[in-house]
Amino acid sequence: MARVVIIGIGHGVFGRRSDATVQELAFEAFRAAIEDAGIERDLIDASVIGSVPEYHKQRSLSGVVQEYLGLNPKPVWLTEVACASGSAAIRTAWMSIKAGVHKVVAVVGCQKMTELTTPEILALMGRVGEVQWESIFGTTFPAYYAMFAQRHMHEFGTTHEQMLQVAVKNHHYGSMNPCALFQKEITMEKALASELVATPFNVYDCCANADGAACVILADEATAKKLSKKTVWLDGMGAATASMSVLRRPDLVGLPSAQEAARVAYAMAGVKADDINVAEVHDCFTIAEIMAYEDLGFCKRGEGGKFIEERRTYIGGKVAVNVDGGLKSKGHPIGSTGVSMTVEIAKQLRGEAGERQVPGAGVGLTHNVGGIGQYTFVQVLRRE
């Protein structure tokens, strides 16, 4: 079957964007992607919005975005699977092209989170746990991942310092990313001294809420070859789920949805974990990146802590991970994050990542997790 191709990428500035509405944020990323693709807007057959609607005052976001991007009367729809909404949007665009329904589809991840206060966001995010049996105890999103961290420490001897080494790495690369919310290096001393959130996590274990948008334009192979020279191939598309309630998971040291999505994506693309040169993984919390190394097969279960300690995920290591700064440094506008990951991998495979370029990157991966691993999407992308 014909391959699906990324022909354009665009990324807005992530941060506390009190200067813009959500559709204005979407426009920034969309305009950049159209200019990057070098195509006329009229060529776009449809668009898919990745966003989580509860955060916006505007109801039915797709409508206002589609109008503002000037894409009426073309069809638009929204995908929502919490923090994986962006990758879900890419998947439905990919499906529509694979099915031959559309030839060129714009995927826009856009989110404005700061219309709500931090306690409101904590309450909303905590309710991605099961509300009937868990949220009644005031669970929060950091608390869930913190419980995975505690169990990981208990079973494998992973240390809090190893977790914070993820933060130090991601802030290091984030300092080179002009679209990131935090563009500053941090030290281990500073990370260790930051305020407690939920044991063992302190502030530097957690990503920050943010506003922002990212966009990719996908096309079928024949159309892409006519329109563009800057092609990146979307060759492996894995998606999987796990129970909503963490009480019904087999264990609390990894994400079964990520393991399954990776298996599917690797098989579809015909690659192994060892073939990946550069990866974007869902580091909403530091432990999440360590579990991602293990779930994706970059290292063995239980060895993720050692893997970061030995700097194996820096550029020049076994596999470069989150060299755009990750969620940790970019901030996490939840519906945009998956699209942001794909933009970065496309940039890396095109060799356009500047001072954070992974030399010779030919195969890349994205790992976008919704909630506490209820949903995971894994993409394998190729330069050729």
Partner: protein, 152 residues
């Protein structure tokens, strides 16, 4: 009366509503499918194995082992007045898991993954309206003893 369950309740209507009445009376209940016998905690009305909707409540002992925990300092809306609090996930002796606050019978420095715990039905005694929950306490802790201390 499932609206009784939890300091803040998000799902007052459910097919396992009687769970909260049992809890108020000091009984912790799981569910058993009347058709295939599959058991579950948390209880569920519709069998995840055979899809039957015919279930019954079965009392469980509340004996449990701590699987993991965290002390929450940054609280969501509705929980600001009880912060900080520690939530634990336990493996229940009869199977299944439960998430709850670790109660006042256990000092913070005593908390250890793998420790034995007892799930104890509780009532928020300082609240006028009926609010029930359960907490994780030292083995041997009874309903009356634990509730003397008020909320966790």
């Amino acid at each position: 009366m499932f609206k009784w369950f939890g300091k803040v309740n998000f799902s007052p209507y459910t097919k396992v509503s009687d769970f909260a009445q049992h809890l108020k009376d000091g009984r912790l209940m799981g569910s058993r499918c009347k058709k295939c016998g599959a058991t579950s905690f948390p209880p569920r009305a519709d069998c995840g194995k055979c899809l039957s909707g015919d279930f019954e409540f079965v009392e469980i002992s509340g004996k449990a082992v701590l699987h993991t925990y965290t002390k929450i300092v940054a609280a969501p809306t509705g929980f600001e007045d009880v912060v900080p609090y520690t939530v634990g996930v336990v493996d229940l002796k009869e199977g299944g898991r439960l998430l709850a606050w670790i109660g006042e019978s256990i000092a913070e420095k005593e908390i250890k993954i793998g420790m034995d715990l007892q799930v104890v039905p509780r009532i928020f005694e300082e609240l006028e309206e009926i609010k029930v929950y359960y907490s994780l306490e030292k083995p041997g802790t009874t309903w009356g003893r634990a509730s003397e201390g008020g909320a966790a």
